[in-house]
């Protein structure tokens, strides 16, 4: 699906690294600006990638964001090693959140995460194994 001519960028994310949190999604956004992707797509990618990145920072041990861009699509996969999600259907519900009070203090965990990512992407896939980790895939059509 992603051609050889595509641009691939990878970033690693660590748990509770709040000082760097959001940097990877910001890098992705800046890359899209340099390519001249439409403002609407940039806006949606910025929001979705940030939410996904923060999920890893808050819940997983470590993770990787891989961003592949060609002239037709942007594909972002985020794979983490972490607790996994027990009930994906529940996690996909608007307003559902397992954020701790500390996370809420920082302004996270309004239960916007996964549904917000889905809403902003054109294709959204999620798989998770409890005790192993979660994998998200989102695609944005150009």
């Amino acid at each position: 699906m992603v051609a050889d001519s595509s641009l691939v960028q990878e970033y690693s994310i660590k748990r509770w690294d709040f000082t760097k949190a959001g940097e990877a999604s910001c890098e992705i956004k800046n890359t899209l600006k340099q390519i001249g992707v439409s403002q609407d797509v940039i806006r949606r990618v910025a929001i979705a990638a940030y939410e996904a990145e923060m999920n890893v920072v808050m819940y997983a041990r470590r993770g990787k964001i891989r961003c592949e861009i060609d002239t037709t699509i942007i594909k972002i996969t985020i794979e983490d090693e972490g607790p996994g999600i027990e009930d994906i259907n529940l996690a996909m519900q608007e307003g559902f959140s397992t954020a701790t009070p500390e996370m809420r203090e920082m302004g996270f965990g309004a239960g916007m995460g996964l549904p917000n990512i889905k809403r902003n992407s054109d294709v959204f896939e999620i798989t998770s194994v409890v005790g192993r980790g979660t994998k998200l895939k989102m695609i944005f059509n150009l």
């Binding site: 001519s5 595509s6 641009l7 960028q9 959001g22 999604s25 910001c26 956004k29 890359t31 600006k33 340099q34 390519i35 001249g36 992707v37 403002q39 940039i42 806006r43 910025a46 929001i47 940030y50 939410e51 861009i69 060609d70 002239t71 302004g107 917000n116 150009l142």
Partner: protein, 421 residues
């Protein structure tokens, strides 16, 4: 004469190519080429960081000079509230306004009063406007340029009200035309400014067709004259109308001080502004109603054309706020009448002006980014700027764009020399 696009000038004779400015520039607009700093005007937002930091006095800023006032039959001074913070602890705003008259302005008006009017108008705007939120302040012309250039998605968040110095200039010119019976173009309405960016917002306004101001004089340029005028000044007239609410506009958090909404946020300093705009773009600040962003550290008192250090200035502003109170002297009904009558309306929509991509063809732009990443792998990553670019990544980009050579990297060149030896 064509009006200058930017207020910053590089003085070639003085520049030694030290890269201080290159590294300070938040939009990576400056390179040192053949030992001299050059600015890419398309990327410059007039923040003044380079001007502020140049250790060799090789950067100047262009504002209206005192001598320029002679071309007008009648002059009106509109001092930024920052001016009140620049004198010793006991010198009061009214004395400063009178000193401005003393040094030759025909009329002097308290711009802080118009800030106070705008605070109330802003309250009404926030109460009645629709999203997207947060609404972002347009007071700082550098922030507006930063957003139109690097955050085009956020242009629709910009507040659609006229800024106080512009609405004031319009009002007072009309007043002077009536009372003096002279034509509007013979009147010079001059802002007394803490930063060079105001000059650009006058020469190249973004929220209106033509600025209502005729120029901006640097606080530092008339400070000496004002000190002289303050000696033995007779205080016979009251020119100050503002309370602490208007004066507060000189510091960060000043615009929101008179706003009743709780969900307001004030940010200052170029790096912090960039950080918070990234947060807005990531959807992180959706619960904030109003965002005040000022590019200079601590707000306008941190402007590069001020004379007092900004910590002292902040102390003075705090004192004035205490003295003149946090209760607005503006009548709410009057503001609402003006508001509904369109007095605060922005004249022209601000439009995005994004930086061009690396290539107009997205496929080619992607290839260029891949080449950049390849080049970057071979660079040392020390970000020493000795090549004249701010960091290795920017050098790699310049190489891809054909504007620089990889041989400009001193570390790679050293390695090559060692191999030969």
């Amino acid at each position: 004469m064509q009006k200058q696009r930017h207020s910053i000038r590089f003085i070639e004779e003085k520049c030694i190519g030290c890269v201080t400015c290159v590294r300070a520039c938040p939009t990576k607009a400056i390179r040192v080429v053949n030992g001299k700093a050059h600015v890419n005007h398309d990327r410059c937002i007039d923040c003044g960081e380079c001007f502020r930091l140049c250790p060799h006095d090789a950067i100047s800023s262009e504002t209206t000079s005192y001598a320029d006032l002679e071309q007008f039959d009648c002059t009106i001074a509109l001092p930024s509230p920052v001016l009140y913070s620049q004198f010793s602890y006991d010198v009061m705003p009214n004395q400063i306004l009178l000193a401005l008259k003393e040094i030759g302005f025909d009329y002097v008006f308290d711009e802080a009063w118009d800030c106070e009017l705008t605070t109330d108008a802003l309250q009404e705007y926030l109460d009645t406007t629709e999203g997207p939120f947060p609404k972002i302040s347009i007071t700082c012309p550098v922030v507006v340029r930063l957003i139109t250039m690097l955050y085009p998605n956020l242009v629709k968040n910009l507040v659609k009200l006229e800024i106080p110095r512009e609405s004031a200039a319009k009002k007072f010119r009309q007043k002077a035309v009536k009372s003096r019976e002279i034509s509007p173009e013979k009147i010079g309405v001059i802002h007394i400014t803490p930063c060079p960016a105001k000059m650009i917002s006058i020469n190249h306004p973004v929220g209106l067709e033509k600025s209502n101001l005729d120029g901006a004089i640097a606080i530092s340029d008339i400070y000496g004259r004002l000190l002289e005028a303050l000696k033995g000044l007779e205080e016979d007239v009251i020119l100050q109308l503002s309370s602490g609410i208007g004066i507060a506009w000189a510091i960060t958090g000043g615009e929101i001080m008179g706003i009743h909404q709780e969900n307001c946020l004030a940010v200052s300093g170029v790096q912090d502004v960039i950080r918070v705009l990234n947060d807005v773009e990531a959807g992180k600040l959706n619960d904030i109603v109003f965002l005040e962003c000022l590019i200079c550290p601590d707000g306008c008192i941190g402007g590069s054309l001020t004379v007092q250090n900004r910590h002292q200035a902040r102390r003075k502003v705090r004192r004035l706020i205490k003295m003149f109170g946090e209760h607005t002297r503006v009548s709410r009904e009057m503001v609402l009448r003006l508001y509904r009558g369109g007095y605060f309306n922005q004249q022209k929509e601000i439009s995005p002006n994004p930086l061009p991509p690396l290539d107009p063809d997205p496929g080619k732009a992607i290839q260029k980014l891949k080449q950049r990443d390849e080049i970057l792998k071979n660079l040392p990553g020390k970000n020493c700027s000795a090549c004249g670019a701010p960091d290795c990544r920017t050098l790699a980009e310049d190489v891809v764009l054909g504007q620089s050579s990889i041989d400009d990297c001193v570390f790679l060149t050293l390695d090559k020399l060692k191999e030969k030896a």
